[in-house]
């Protein structure tokens, strides 16, 4: 073999040997590092505020559990986060520990076999006794009543209104008694102030928020209505559903809500971040996070003296019941059913359910800790407005869902968009929702028996019955 040929053969071999040596030597020190010898738990987290909270807690959690936490940053928008998480869970390469954005997604994830059953761990955990009954219910899957998540924080959701502007205009800021009262107040705002009075999220681009931040309030307005029947079927033929769409229809027909912004790709931006701070929208559904994220001093369009300028009403009932606040268990911690570190992952999620962890998140996110004993924590006592919301925890309302909630929410988004764009009236929207859910989930998931027909509230009757 000539020298040239030898060089051609030996050169790549030598280069490969050098690369391998560098790689190996790079690995070697870390293998000897005691930090690396600890078991590693991969934890998914997203959104800057949540990441900041987790990074802040990381050293404490690592020391407590003797593990190394590898934090993987996921996309910020909730839908993108959830899509990425679900595809990874399906592919079998998801992190050991992650959060479930909303309680109503627990059933779907658990039914798919993605979540580890935490019932024994959670029930033996002292923190479990500190959870309000509603929160305990929302952490269980409806199809087997097993616990799959550890709650940490709760969103308390109500109507937020511009107290400063309504007062200046001489419009009552009393708690509206019922839907009719709320609609009458809205009409008065429109007439006197010439602005859009009320925004309840709806439409396709708001995605699951059309249900969680919108339609859910309207359904929960009926004391006797439950979204799930005793047989765990969706009760979509109930008249409460028609009336809920009727409420939207009234808002649209009387131009009490800004429709066009709700059809935008990011429908929350204009009404919540622009119109509400400018006083072009006076009332909106929102959660305890709004005074921090949407209009707080660090937000893009802060409202001056937000704690006093913006105040809350409970959502009024449709049928003479008491006004109410809604609760959602948000970002509850779950363990990947396929995690190879089951025991450690379970210990980690229980540690993440402790009050100090919940507080670290609550402060940054504007949500309230799920546990009732948080009210005794000195750091929490300092957060006055969140304390008020936390005090509501034991009296909040929620609608339980079951497997297929994702399809139900997609159906609500479609049907409510049809109302927004005038393509459907309340009855047609109800039919559209029913048909969509039957198409996707099958007829067995929808209660087919027609429930009682309720008279429409007088406030709606004029406009809705004309159609």
């Amino acid at each position: 073999m000539s020298w040239t040929k030898k060089t051609l053969v030996l050169l790549p071999i030598a280069a490969a040997a050098v690369v391998a040596a560098i790689w190996w030597s790079g690995e070697l020190p870390s293998d000897l590092n005691p930090q690396q010898t600890r078991p590693t738990l991969v934890i998914a987290e997203h959104r800057t505020a949540r990441l900041q909270a987790l990074y802040q807690l990381q050293p404490k959690l690592e020391a407590e559990l003797g593990v190394r936490l590898k934090i993987v940053e996921y996309p910020a928008p909730p839908q993108d986060y959830f899509t990425k998480l679900v595809t990874e869970l399906r592919a079998g390469n998801a992190p050991d520990v992650f959060t479930v954005p909303r309680d109503l997604q627990v059933d779907d994830l658990a039914a798919a076999g993605y979540l580890a059953n935490l019932t024994a761990d959670v029930q033996a955990w002292p923190g479990y006794q500190q959870l309000p009954a509603l929160v305990k219910t929302l952490t269980r899957a409806s199809f087997d009543e097993q616990v799959y998540v550890v709650p940490s924080i709760v969103a308390v959701e109500q109507l937020y209104y511009r107290h400063d502007l309504l007062t200046a205009a001489g419009i009552s800021t009393e708690q509206p008694k019922d839907w009719q009262d709320l609609l009458n107040r809205s009409r008065q705002i429109k007439q006197q102030m010439g602005q859009f009075p009320l925004m309840i999220p709806a439409g396709l681009t708001w995605g699951m928020g059309s249900y969680t931040e919108g339609f859910r309030y309207l359904l929960a307005s009926f004391q006797d209505y439950q979204l799930l029947s005793t047989g765990n079927q969706y009760q979509l033929n109930d008249d409460a559903v028609r009336q809920a769409f009727g409420f939207y229809q009234t808002l649209v027909q009387e131009q009490l809500t800004p429709v066009n912004p709700l059809l935008n790709p990011e429908p929350w931006v204009i009404p919540k971040y622009e119109m509400f701070p400018k006083g072009e929208l006076l009332i909106t559904t929102c959660g305890s996070w709004c005074k921090v994220f949407d209009w707080g001093p660090g937000s893009r369009n802060p409202i001056a003296n937000v704690d006093t300028s913006v105040q809350t009403w409970k959502f009024p009932s449709a049928d003479g019941g008491e006004p109410f606040a809604l609760a959602s268990v948000v970002y509850a911690w779950a363990v990947n059913a396929k995690s190879r570190q089951q025991q450690l992952a379970r210990q980690l999620v229980l540690a993440l359910g402790e009050v100090d962890v919940a507080l670290a998140y609550a402060v940054k996110l504007g949500n309230v800790p799920a546990r009732l004993d948080a009210k005794e924590h000195p750091d929490f006592i300092a957060l006055d407005s969140l304390m008020q919301d936390h005090a509501l925890l034991t009296e909040t309302r929620a609608l339980r869902t079951t497997v297929g909630s994702n399809a139900m929410m997609a159906g609500v988004a479609q049907a409510s968009e049809a109302v927004l764009t005038g393509r459907a009236n309340a009855l047609q929207a109800q039919q559209q929702l029913h048909d969509y859910v039957v198409n996707v989930l099958g007829a067995e998931m929808v209660e087919q028996q027609l429930a009682k027909t309720l008279p429409l509230p007088a406030a709606l009757a004029t406009e809705v019955e004309k159609n």
Binding site: N264, P265, N406, N439
Partner: protein, 295 residues
């Protein structure tokens, strides 16, 4: 093998050389297409019980699809988008650019580079770039431009959603049209033009009687490629509008994504993908027939 004729050995050699490409095509194109079809006959999902154990549902997804107004809307939007941006926008402007740059133009290479630049930018980046252009409020680039003419700030992506995405895709695709059509123009023998001029033909006559007929194979080839690729566009429109407002820009790619990864219904999403594949194939066959190319 040693007994093979020269021709047989040559054919065998070709087949061996084609094998890697065929294996890759089978693995990444043919197999996924068949897999999508088999998936479309199930209720497979990413969530719920069906994620653990899907069942065969026959043609239920297809029957649901054909009665779904959102699917028909999506198909309509896709056709308008393809015709508006690929068939009309990119072709007309690409052809005009190709013709213009055939002439002796000063700083020709600079014009070439300017026209080619949009094609070098990834489609997601193009999407974000145009979001900034179309941004509502007085600070949006386009709103600043129209403000010089006294026009009030507009919400472009809300008021003219489909037109907006057509414009963006046209802008992005001109370069490809120009390059392909320039190569077609270059292949027309110069002596035909000279003969026509000697016979006293005007520029318009030369264009319609010589350039266009001689360019027909290239034009059809361009139409074929651009139609099929535009049909499959996703990232650009997803970045710009996510299919909204009110589904007005929900092209098939976005509809498939929404069904599969927002509603998490893999079976139904696959059924839409199969229909999309069929539509693309039909269009492809029409173009191939028009080109009179044997496949």
């Amino acid at each position: 093998m040693f007994n093979m004729t020269y021709e047989a050995r040559r054919q065998f050699g070709y087949r061996i050389m084609m094998t890697p490409a065929l294996v890759l095509m089978a693995a990444f194109i043919v197999f996924p297409a068949f897999y999508a079809f088999s998936l479309s006959l199930t209720d497979d999902a990413l969530l719920g019980f069906a994620a653990q154990e899907s069942s065969y549902v026959g043609l239920r997804n297809f029957s649901r699809l054909f009665s779904d107004p959102l699917f028909w809307n999506s198909l309509k939007v896709t056709l308008i988008f393809v015709i508006g941006s690929a068939v009309i926008g990119q072709f007309v402007l690409g052809f005009a650019s190709a013709l213009m740059l055939q002439r002796p133009v000063k700083y020709k290479s600079i014009f070439n580079a300017i026209i080619c630049l949009p094609n070098a930018v990834p489609e997601m980046v193009v999407g974000f770039l145009w979001i900034s252009m179309f941004a509502s409020g007085e600070y949006g680039t386009l709103n600043r431009l129209v403000a010089w003419f006294g026009v009030e700030p507009q919400q472009w992506l809300y008021t003219f959603p489909l037109m907006s995405i057509i414009i963006v895709n046209t802008w992005r695709g001109i370069a490809f049209a120009m390059i392909l059509l320039t190569s077609g123009l270059a292949s027309i023998p110069k002596d035909i033009y000279e003969a026509a001029r000697v016979d006293g033909a005007t520029d318009t006559q030369i264009f319609w009687r010589i350039t266009v007929p001689m360019m027909m194979p290239t034009i059809f080839l361009y139409m074929f490629i651009s139609t099929v690729t535009t049909f499959a566009i996703f990232g650009l429109v997803y970045t710009l509008s996510r299919g909204g407002p009110a589904n007005s820009t929900e092209i098939l790619g976005i509809y498939i994504y929404n069904q599969s990864f927002t509603a998490f219904q893999l079976g139904y999403g696959a059924a839409v993908a199969v229909i999309s594949l069929v539509v693309s194939m039909v269009l492809g066959i029409i173009y191939v027939k028009a080109l009179k190319v044997e496949v």
